[in-house]
């Protein structure tokens, strides 16, 4: 069989060969502790500063000291949210959205048990927020707004720059989980009112297990991990130097390729989407197609189930993911699909294709060819399907006794 095709870049990405190359010395001769005074440490310390500046350039931060290296996107999210609560003990409310990544949602749900009030902004059928609802919630009781820049399942973008302005005017701290945006859309944080922002290395062709928390200068802050003076005491623990160097290199590459993400990658994504929708009836794009990441296409295939689709795709050498309940290990279908009120016969069949600049035209053509027979094979097994279309009045024709 030909080489497998990887269209699951919102889950994780291949480490750029240049990043691997840059990292290698830091596993061997460059082993020094960056905090040490001697030359072993000093060289590594300088390399870290360089990586910090590469990340600074990617996100358009004003100062390199606004970049704090962490162990992952999740740590950055937790640090930001818990810090905002710590510095404002009298503010007991948080505003976030129903479609955040579990890195934010699970923590918020946990904080509710500790007595905090969390406002979860709803989304409409296209996954968009109601800004008026948001503006009405801002008050002196709110410690923090945490809103993702782009949704990992649908790629739908939220107007975080505008929302940060509103928060700023109301005197409320603003954090954004930009894990899916960094490297895909240009960003200049110094021109925004965003106070804190999370990103994760492995989503932009750096290794797993390294992330960044952007912390605007003069933002009140309390560390999650206390200990040594690494990261100016804001994140103790000896640095994961090799991965940080890899992240710096990947950030530089991402910045150089950001145009390509929005032209070449976007074109391939659109070609894939159109190619599939032209051949497969009863399929539609979820989220807000007019306002989303250039690399993401989330397509709901009605009357069939996502895990079954993924297994057949995997057999055909194509990797993607699904919002189906059965792929997550929980029994619930994706909270993002449910929040958009997608009927469950479609939500379970949603498949996320997420591209990267490493995908080729030939790969996309192979996928366009492979998907239609997979869908029809599964529809032949479906009780909602008959011949060339859904059974008449599917909800009535097949109304199982539910447990």
């Amino acid at each position: 069989m030909s080489e497998p095709i990887y269209l699951d870049n919102n889950a994780t990405t291949l480490v750029a060969p240049e990043a691997v190359e840059a990292m290698l010395p830091f596993f061997s001769e460059q082993f020094g502790n960056p905090s040490s005074l001697h030359s072993f440490g000093d060289k590594v310390g300088r390399a870290l500063l360089n990586a910090r500046r590469q990340v600074q350039a990617l996100i358009g931060a004003e100062h390199d000291s606004e970049v704090i290296f962490t162990s992952c996107g999740t740590e950055s999210d937790s640090t930001a949210i818990l810090s905002a609560l710590k510095v404002q003990p009298n503010r007991k409310e948080i505003i976030t959205t129903v479609v955040e990544h579990p890195a934010v949602l699970s923590l918020c749900e946990h904080l509710e048990k500790d007595g905090y009030t969390v406002h979860y902004l709803k989304v409409d059928k296209k996954g968009r927020l109601d800004i008026q609802e948001y503006a009405n919630l801002l008050s002196d009781n709110v410690a923090l707004v945490s809103v993702m820049w782009a949704n990992n399942e649908t790629g739908t973008l939220f107007p975080v720059e505008e929302m940060a302005e509103l928060a700023n005017e109301a005197g409320v701290l603003f954090h954004s989980d930009a894990v899916q945006v960094a490297g895909k859309l240009p960003m200049r944080l110094q021109d925004t009112a965003i106070d804190m922002l999370s990103l994760s290395g492995h989503k932009l062709h750096a290794p797993k297990g390294v992330g960044v928390l952007y912390l605007r200068r003069n933002t009140r802050f309390r560390p999650l991990l206390r200990g040594g003076h690494q990261e100016r005491g804001r994140r103790a623990g000896t640095e994961n130097t090799a991965s940080i160097i890899g992240l710096g290199q990947a950030a530089e590459l991402a910045l150089a390729n950001i145009e390509q993400e929005n032209t070449a990658v976007r074109r391939l994504r659109d070609k894939l989407e159109k190619g599939i929708l032209a051949q497969v009836p009863y399929a539609f794009v979820t989220g807000d197609p007019g306002n989303r990441l250039p690399n993401t296409a989330n397509i709901a295939f009605e009357y069939i189930e996502g895990e079954a689709i993924l297994l057949l795709m995997n057999k055909a050498g194509i990797a993607a993911s699904s919002g189906s309940a059965c792929t997550s290990g929980s029994l619930e279908p994706s909270h993002v699909m449910r929040a958009m009120d997608i009927p469950y016969t479609a939500a379970h069949g949603s498949v996320r294709f997420s591209l990267s600049r490493y995908n080729t035209e030939a790969e996309i053509e192979r996928v366009i060819e492979a998907i239609p027979p997979i869908v029809s094979k599964l529809r032949k097994l479906s009780p909602y399907w008959s011949g060339d279309g859904p059974v008449e009045d599917p909800a009535k024709a097949f109304a199982p006794a539910y447990a």
Partner: protein
């Protein structure tokens, strides 16, 4: 992705008896609301002998839902209705060489579809009495609804008690936070507070003497024997040491690929019947251990 057995994959990629049976005279439609899977089972039953002549399935669901449906139709074809009705979800899972704990509900759905189809054939109404919650304990596949019910029914107060009654939390212990949350919710309803350092009430069961315990284990093995013999195998109790039960697998079971699976099945049954954690180990391992010691 999931750790699916070869057999599950095989039945998923090449499902048997897919599609509706023509001239079916029994139809069972069931679904699991929580996970969204749904299944229609159609049967052609010989009215004279009540033998299932043909069985077909249509499934909206994941890989193991499709594989379980396929397995179900293979198991019941040619059986009489009353024979088919005793097919359990464990039988379906065993037929597929096991399912991941998160996926056991797929086999439950198969059994329910069968019950619904038979009820339909007999002009009865089938009612589902099985409610399913989020999976809490992955080691022993125990869900939230089950834990809640048992906590309520028995007035349980500690994680340890929950483990005694349901096995949940008796394995890797990662779900203890989840169990504590359920205890907190139920106890709050009853106007009590959950106290993490409370002592577990001693299990109500009176302690068995060694002899009683071994007899009990024998009885359980005895009850499993017909199933094993049907597969041309057998099991023999060799020794009991604390929580470890040493057995000899004989006949077709010994050395066959399935021996591991079968041991797991026996262990699960023993844990259920004895209400304590029990490890089933082949007697050959005992000798090896003795040699190593």
């Amino acid at each position: 992705m999931w750790d699916y057995s070869e057999k599950v994959q095989e039945h998923f990629f090449n499902p048997r008896n897919a599609g509706a049976v023509e001239e079916a005279n029994a139809v069972g439609d069931v679904g699991s609301l929580s996970c969204g899977d749904a299944l229609r089972l159609t049967l052609k039953v010989d009215p004279e002998t009540e033998t299932i002549l043909e069985a077909g399935f249509q499934t909206f669901g994941c890989g193991s839902a499709i594989a379980s449906s396929s397995a179900l139709t293979e198991i019941i074809k040619g059986k009489k209705l009353d024979e088919a009705l005793v097919v359990s979800n464990q039988d379906i899972a065993d037929y597929l060489d096991g399912l991941p704990p998160e996926k056991m509900h797929c086999s439950v759905m198969g059994r329910e579809a069968l019950q619904a189809a038979v009820a339909n054939y007999r002009g009865e109404e089938w009612k589902d009495d099985h409610e399913e919650g989020a999976l809490i304990c992955k080691c022993f596949a125990v869900d939230a609804v089950m834990i809640e019910d048992v906590v309520r029914a028995n007035g349980l107060r500690t994680v340890e008690e929950v483990t005694h009654y349901t096995k949940a939390g008796g394995g890797c212990s990662a779900c203890h936070e989840g169990i504590e949350e359920i205890l907190t919710t139920v106890l709050t309803e009853q106007g009590e507070a959950f106290n993490a350092s409370a002592k577990a009430a001693p299990p109500k069961k009176t302690k068995l003497t060694n002899l009683q315990r071994i007899r009990r284990i024998e009885t359980v093995l005895e009850s499993l024997r017909p199933q094993l013999q049907a597969d041309h195998g057998d099991v023999e109790l060799v020794d009991v040491e604390g929580n470890t039960v040493y057995v000899n697998m004989t006949g077709a079971c010994s050395g066959c690929q399935m021996a591991g699976m079968t041991l797991n099945g026996i262990q699960q049954r023993l844990v259920e019947e004895m209400g304590e954690f029990i490890k089933v180990v082949p007697a050959s391992a005992m000798q090896k251990m003795a040699a190593a010691g």
